[in-house]
Symmetry: C2
Subunit: 372 residues, 2 copies
């Protein structure tokens, strides 16, 4: 046994050395000779070994490689109060109310810009917004997109949540149904998922699943994925495509960019802020590795074609690429687009050239995958 | 005129405010009310406004979301001497010699693992390695892949550069020609590009371009792209697909992750190290925005289908996603894969599960796009 342990340990050492050496194969690494074990560590960070790396403080400039409009977004300071965590249900609801008020002008501007018709109604008792552009593309006449908004399972109640769905309707000339699902603190998991699934059942009575897609960002990206997991479990037909944007797919926050992009991202900033607390509020007493809460732990076999969107500064870039890889491992036609310099969900910023590009790609992907 | 300027300035202010507000639309941002201009800045970083953001020092742990083998790679310290910049031609050649020596064991191990036959020969006077796996997949009988190695246009001379080509031959069961192109300091730009183009002309005499692909990583990714630009300019047939891995596509180093992932990447670490100096050595007196040096400034119209590979910690993640976006803007079928936690070119680390996955995707893409 001692021999076996020694052997395993020796093998482990070999693996470690091999992979260090091996990285020199990469175009750019330095000779492994320079990494001999008797050499002193090059920097303080080397001393911390495999456990962590000390990253020095630095000034991160605004890149010149994006549009002028996006530079303004990237250069904005952290949202004031990003780490002021509401301490009770009333305070959470107050934050949700403020979040809705804060985007009211944007919602109005998007509606006006695209000349959208928005009808508030209900499906299976769940409030929804039916969004209709002035012109529906001929191929889209019998197609429908289902939109699930983001906001950490807590923010953007009512029409405030519909902005992404409205932009999709406008850019893609699609009919869109945006769900105003129940949220925490009053309605934690799995209320939101139940609402989305109930609406999906209603839509299936009127539309061919091959002519529908489901999409949403952040919490809405997670709900997009968990809706597919639940539809699979319940034997419901699946949509022809999905577009999870920067999905909040792992509520254990294990993704590498949750650390690497902390304080680099100026949208969420860090998971120690409101967003982590909101996710906890939503999860309640449920196991965070429940795939309906954290879809990264689910089985993606049989998922419809998917297009994922993120940014290089996104706190959830890791969640996005992990979902992409896991979909590919399950042989799903999954595409990834990552926008230069963008923090979490900034590809939704209205009236920025990169947003037009992101929605254009998603609309193109839906068009290629939905029956007409 | 003064009025016009005022008006433009007012419009700019409006844009700035709008996009700040707008980011609240993103799933996760906080209410814009919290960003009112009379509110004090939330953190010291806010004071720096649009110009830069102060990122605090922090400890970056090794993610648990990757294989154990890859954890060892991610947890390795910076390469000792990454910022020791050779001061003359002799020192550069010494570094190149050491780089080759450092990977000799890996090259041997890869050859043995895949039972590869490697023939050293020349095409148009350029030394090449013809790499043949023991079994060529039936569909690949008449196909050929051209490999261009990385190493900052300076490192990995001789067989040391062939490792990536050898892995492609092994994983994909393809015949591969790997080019031992001329390098700086003796042969700066455009010697490497001339060598690659000369070999491409030779191959065109024996193989259908629809049955060939070109691939390479880092400097080899840049050369893959600039070879297509030059082939277009010279009216040569193009390959059926390309696979630029983490291309060093912008020698002006303008990409956002050049800053954001500095000291996060443990392969290149920062462009202030040897890699920046190597690129300068290669460029000589040429304008760094010359598209044959920095292909991001080129016209990608008519490019063949492309698959791009990078990692979330890659210093050149921005170069990769910018190339991906620019290819998509030119309506090229371009795919992106980004691996969790990997620094520059670490998807080439031999005998790590994620490497098998990366090569599997590229081989699959080639198979889908090359005539058989």
């Amino acid at each position: 046994m001692a021999l076996e342990q020694n052997s395993a340990s020796a093998e482990r050492d070999t693996v470690t050395r091999r992979t260090l050496l091996a990285s020199a194969l990469a175009a750019a690494a330095l000779p492994s000779a320079a990494r001999a074990e008797d050499a002193p560590p090059a920097t303080a960070s080397a001393a911390s070994g495999l456990n962590s790396r000390r990253i020095p403080a630095r000034d991160l400039p605004v890149p010149k490689t994006v549009s002028r409009e996006l530079q303004a977004v990237i250069g904005a300071p952290y949202p004031l109060g990003w780490d002021d965590i509401p301490q009770d249900a009333t305070a959470w609801k107050d934050l949700a109310f403020k979040s809705a008020a804060s985007v009211a002008n944007d919602i109005a501007a998007i509606g006006k810009h695209f000349d959208l018709q928005i009808e508030k109604t209900a499906m299976a008792g769940v409030p929804v917004f039916v969004i209709t552009p002035p012109e529906i593309a001929p191929a889209n006449r019998d197609r429908l997109l289902l939109h699930i908004h983001g906001g950490g399972f807590v923010l953007f109640p009512g029409e405030a949540g519909a902005g992404e769905g409205m932009m999709m309707a406008g850019y893609g000339k699609f009919r869109v149904v945006s769900i105003d699902y129940r949220m925490a603190p009053d309605f934690p998991f799995p209320a939101a998922l139940e609402d989305v699934t109930a609406v999906w059942r209603v839509l299936l009575a009127s539309y061919e699943p091959s002519r529908m897609a489901i999409f949403g960002t952040s919490a809405g990206g997670a709900l997009t994925l968990s809706t597919i997991l639940r539809a699979k479990a319940e034997g419901l037909p699946l949509p022809a495509a999905i577009a999870p944007g920067s999905p909040c797919a792992d509520l254990t926050w294990a993704g590498d960019t949750v650390e690497a992009n902390a304080y680099v991202d100026n949208s969420l900033v860090a998971h120690t802020g409101w967003v982590g607390a909101a996710a906890t509020l939503y999860a309640g007493t449920h196991d965070l590795t429940n795939p309906e809460l954290s879809p990264i732990f689910g089985d993606f076999t049989g998922f419809p074609p998917a297009i994922l969107t993120s940014g290089t500064r996104d706190l959830l870039l890791s969640d996005t690429v992990r979902v992409h890889r896991k979909l590919r491992q399950a042989h799903v036609d999954a595409r990834l687009q990552v926008f230069e310099g963008e923090s979490h969900a900034q590809f939704l910023t209205p009236f920025v050239p990169e947003t037009t590009e992101a929605f254009g790609e998603i609309a193109h992907f839906f068009d290629a995958n939905l029956s007409s």
